[in-house]
Amino acid sequence: MNLLETTAPIAASGLYSWAWLMIAIPAASAAFLLVGGKLTDAWAHLLGTAASIASFVIGLLLFVDLLGATEGSRAVSVPLWDLITTGDWTIQVGLLVDQLSILFVLLITGVGSLIHIYSIGYMAHDSRRREFFAYMNLFIAAMLILVLGDNYLTLFFGWEGVGLSSYLLIGFWYFKKSAAVAAKKAFVVNRIGDLGLLMAMFALLTQFGSTSFVVVNQNAASLSGSWATIIGLLLLLAACGKSAQVPLQSWLLDAMEGPTPVSALIHAATMVTAGVYLIIRSHLIYDQTPTAQLAVAVVGTVTLLFGAWIGTSKDDIKKVLAGSTMSQIGYMMLAAGLGPVGAAFAIFHLLTHGFFKANMCLGAGSVMHGMNDDVDMRHFGALRKAMPITFLTFAMGYLAIIGFPFTAGFYSKDHIIEAAFHESVVLGSLALIGAGVTAFYMTRLMMMTFFGDKRWLKGVHPHESPMSMTIPLIVLAVLSIIAGAAMNNWIGEWLAPATGAEVEQMSLLSITPIGIITMLTVAVGVFLGWWFFRGEVPSTVPANSNVFAIAGRNDLYGDAFNEAVFMRPGQHLVGGVSWSDDHLVDGGIVGGSTGMVSAAATVLRRLQNGYVRSYGLTMVAGALLVGALIILGRLA
């Protein structure tokens, strides 16, 4: 166990004291675009993109500076202002720039800027493009608060902020009922997860009187076992909501209702990985509780299979990718649940996944752009010639996600599978199966979209997308290939102080037995995908599907479960409460509303009968009552 992480971060000076600008610039841009209204329509997309790039540049400068700093001074705290100072509590708004957060900053602002550029072309014909860029900027700001906050409460501001921007962007085309419903669902399901984070904070305040990472980390070892487990499970609940892990996974598939750049940025590359970040940030709490740690690994494993299964049976290209995202985040969660061995692998896979999944989501957007916004892969086919750049970039993402040797996913995913095997054969085997299924469904996607016969609908003329869309694709495709090799030998050591990761020398070329088995499994998956989908693909869903495909198409009945267990009983509860409020509370127990009011009105009318003597009588009665009370009071 590394002890470096308990050293307090050093105070900010120079460039670091301006770190808040990374958040303030996109936030100000968002506010300006929303309040400025139609006046800014003409150049809103340029301002929004510039704001995102500005944050990226600041992040890059900080990163270069951290690279040059000594290991002990790579965690810099930037206190901003006191949020709550009451009783013994002092909760600050502050930032923490360290090895972990700076990687996220680069991912968020880097991929974010590329997606902003892409959106200029993608949203060119939308009359509300200004609003879109405002929300995207809002997201960048909130996501940076989430990863830069130096305590759980500041993190929570970002946590809810990304939830809000996600809500606004999923429901961007609010006039479609499906989009509005999906947005609401995402918000509400996320709130269930937020419950976990809220209660974890309450428990941390009870235990430590603070929500700051430094205080919590310094004292984590003195946490009692049961409280460590409770806090660990509560944080896991939060992570499940944000990262769409079982059992709070159901919102992510519906979230694909949003514009595709949103799916790429928020629901693939960045926001949905926030849960993994939270778990890694809290690793010292998890070190105290093997139970919660195991729960994290189990949730990750279940979800990686769950998502992959869904990925095999969907015909909507975005939903295949959404299932795949759930599944890949499952790998990260699994790694995070393996303790110090897995922490760096989780972040490593998180970064490479950010590149290749953003690449493929944007690629899917490019395909949709050429296919009149159709998402059904049964209407695609043979697109590799119609859109060569999209095809080539997508193919690089494909190689990365299946873990083709020497691509990004090869390094990051194999490490996780290997670490899982060291922890437990069961977890390892399941992760291995997941890799095979991933290869299968991604091959299926490639075959149905880019190969085979044309199954295009009438009036569809696929064409390559404009430069503003293809250039980001090319950049991300290159990263999908090289990012793994580039970071493989570096990231473990870099992250060790912040995540408690164990430094392990990882060679670029050496191949372990488990690595060979993984490659074989992937090869089988690719072969099966090719075999089943090499021929004709029916342009409608075949009726004679097997039970597994039907289950997958129905999201493994996640919605049916929620409906039966939560929604229906909830509706009955609301109905029952409403009825009893009318009939019991208002009617019987506290005094019949209609009955009592009219009766009282009659009494009041009688009282106002104009006879002085009855007024006098009332006054005497009142005086007697008061007098009696006073006497009683004296006696008491």
Partner: protein, 501 residues
């Protein structure tokens, strides 16, 4: 003798009300608005004063009644809430009298000023009898505000409001007489001053009965389950402006009174009754939220959200930690702003459609994006999203209450999920989706400049205090600390910190 600033603050809107009754027509309206702005200026001036402003004069020596005014941290924020909301309400209801035959807008304005002046005196009074008199007096203008303008069944709603309030007032009268009698029997002679009563020993049987008398009155006022049913009926019929005055300001007297009188005079009985009150508070939180989810009428929905929010306030008060009490007091202010924004923006929307039924809407965002956007922002404040001040107070209440009662608090946190449901469900059904014919028929325009300037200050306050709550929290923290001292309680120490803090 120094200038009686507090008396002036309370009298100014009363004078304004009187003049508004006398001056006919449009000038009367302008005059009322001017007075509300002058009160706002004076209120802010009072708020920033640091010295002792209290005024104490003998009133009825025989029974120990005093004309005594004073201002602590809690009083200051309640003054701030009152003086901010009244001009906002007047601006929002600028044409209230023109919508239906009957009483004019000017009379509405005069009554609103009356409510303001009387409510200010309630928040300033430091003598129980004085407090009680103004407490009851606020009913009169409020009754006419509800009965005079609004829906077709407003008369019945006003009567229901009056009966519940009178019942509460009567119960409180027993309490007032009881504490007076108790103090008359004490060695120092009779006194209704809260400071003097706090010195007496009210522990044991009679003290508990007197505590209950006050608590029941305040529970009706603040509406708590199960004495809440008057509020939804009233909010459904009253104008949004009247509802704002009622829920935003007058209902706060309930929670204000719980801290000022129940905790201040009866510390022993307060701790004695805590288990039952906490359970009722949590029931209010969940019950109000469930009822809001089931509401078919937007105005009733807001009323039920308030019942849920008052549950949180009471939870914070009776959890007895500095943080939860501070959170509750801050909650009173935030809830005032937040509910006002929600009532008023939905009022503007309902007025265009001519109905508050949720099913009468659909796709409004298309024709009135600004109105829909402001509905969403106000709603996010109601569901306590971080970045709005409501979050800070709800967080403080729950985090503080967790220190003593983790299980009960955990149940109450379910209210935050239900809150997301009641806001987002209503928003989705009314504002989004395809534009319905009935909406496109009725919506001629989006919000105008007057309506925007009603909402802008409220939303600005919610956002500013959402990120920088410090200055206000420091003001109210003193009241929380005083209450803790009276109760003889200290905050639980952190359980797992090595070597102390």
């Amino acid at each position: 003798m120094t200038f009686p600033l507090l008396t002036a603050l309370g009298v100014l809107p009363l004078v304004g009300a009187l003049l508004t009754f006398l001056v006919k027509g449009n000038p009367g309206k302008m005059l009322a608005f001017a007075f509300s702005l002058a009160t706002l200026a004076l209120g802010v001036w009072v708020f920033v004063q640091s010295g002792d402003l209290s005024e104490t004069h003998q009133w009825i020596p025989a029974i120990g009644a005093w004309y005594a005014l004073g201002l602590d941290g809690m009083g200051k924020v309640m003054v701030l809430l009152t003086v901010v909301l009244v001009p906002v309400v007047l601006l929002a209801e600028w044409h209230v009298g023109e919508r239906q035959p009957g009483w004019s807008t000017r009379v509405f304005f005069a009554l609103a000023l009356l409510v303001e002046g009387l409510a200010l005196f309630v928040f300033l009074a430091t003598d129980v009898l004085l407090f009680y008199l103004f407490f009851e007096a606020t009913l009169i203008p409020m009754y006419f505000l509800i009965g005079g303008w609004g829906g077709p069944r407003r008369g019945a709603a006003a009567l229901k409001f009056l009966l519940y309030s009178l019942a509460g007032g009567l119960i409180m009268l027993f309490g007032v007489i009881g504490v007076g009698a108790h103090s008359a029997a004490s060695a120092d002679g009779p006194s209704f001053l809260i400071a003097d009563l706090a010195k007496l020993d009210f522990s044991g049987g009679v003290g508990r009965w007197l505590f209950l008398a006050f608590f029941i009155a305040f529970a009706i006022k603040a509406p708590m389950f199960p004495v809440h049913t008057w509020l939804p009926d009233t909010a459904e019929q009253a104008t949004p402006g009247s509802s704002t005055l009622l829920v935003g300001i007058l209902d706060k007297i309930g929670t204000f009174g719980m801290i000022r009188l129940c905790l201040g005079i009866f510390p022993e009985a307060s701790t004695w009754a805590t288990p039952v009150i906490l359970v009722l508070a949590v029931i209010s939180v969940l019950y109000g939220a469930l009822m809001a989810i089931g509401s078919k009428d937007l105005m009733r929905l807001i009323a039920f959200t308030s019942i849920s929010h008052f549950g949180f306030m009471v939870l914070g008060i009776f959890a007895f930690t500095t943080q939860s009490l501070t959170g509750s007091i801050f909650y009173m202010l935030n809830h005032g702003f937040s509910t006002a924004a929600l009532f008023l923006v939905i009022g503007f929307i309902v007025q265009r459609r001519g109905s508050a039924r949720i099913e009468a809407f659909g796709g409004v965002q298309k024709v009135a994006p600004v109105a829909a956007g402001l509905f969403l922002v106000s709603g996010l404040s109601a569901l306590a999203l971080p970045g709005t001040s409501s979050f800070i107070s709800e967080f403080m209440v729950m985090a503080g209450a967790w220190q003593r009662h983790p299980i009960i608090t955990a149940v109450a946190t379910l209210g935050t999920v239900l809150a997301a449901l009641y806001i987002m469900l209503a928003y989705q059904r009314t504002m989004t989706g395809p534009l319905t014919e009935q909406v496109s028929e009725h919506f001629r325009d989006d919000l105008g400049w007057r309506e925007k300037s009603v909402l802008a200050p409220l939303i600005a306050l919610l956002l500013v205090f959402g990120f920088v709550p410090g200055p206000l929290m420091n003001v109210v923290e003193n009241t929380a600390k005083d209450a803790m001292a009276t109760l003889g309680m200290t905050d639980p120490a952190p359980a797992a910190v090595e070597g102390g803090k």
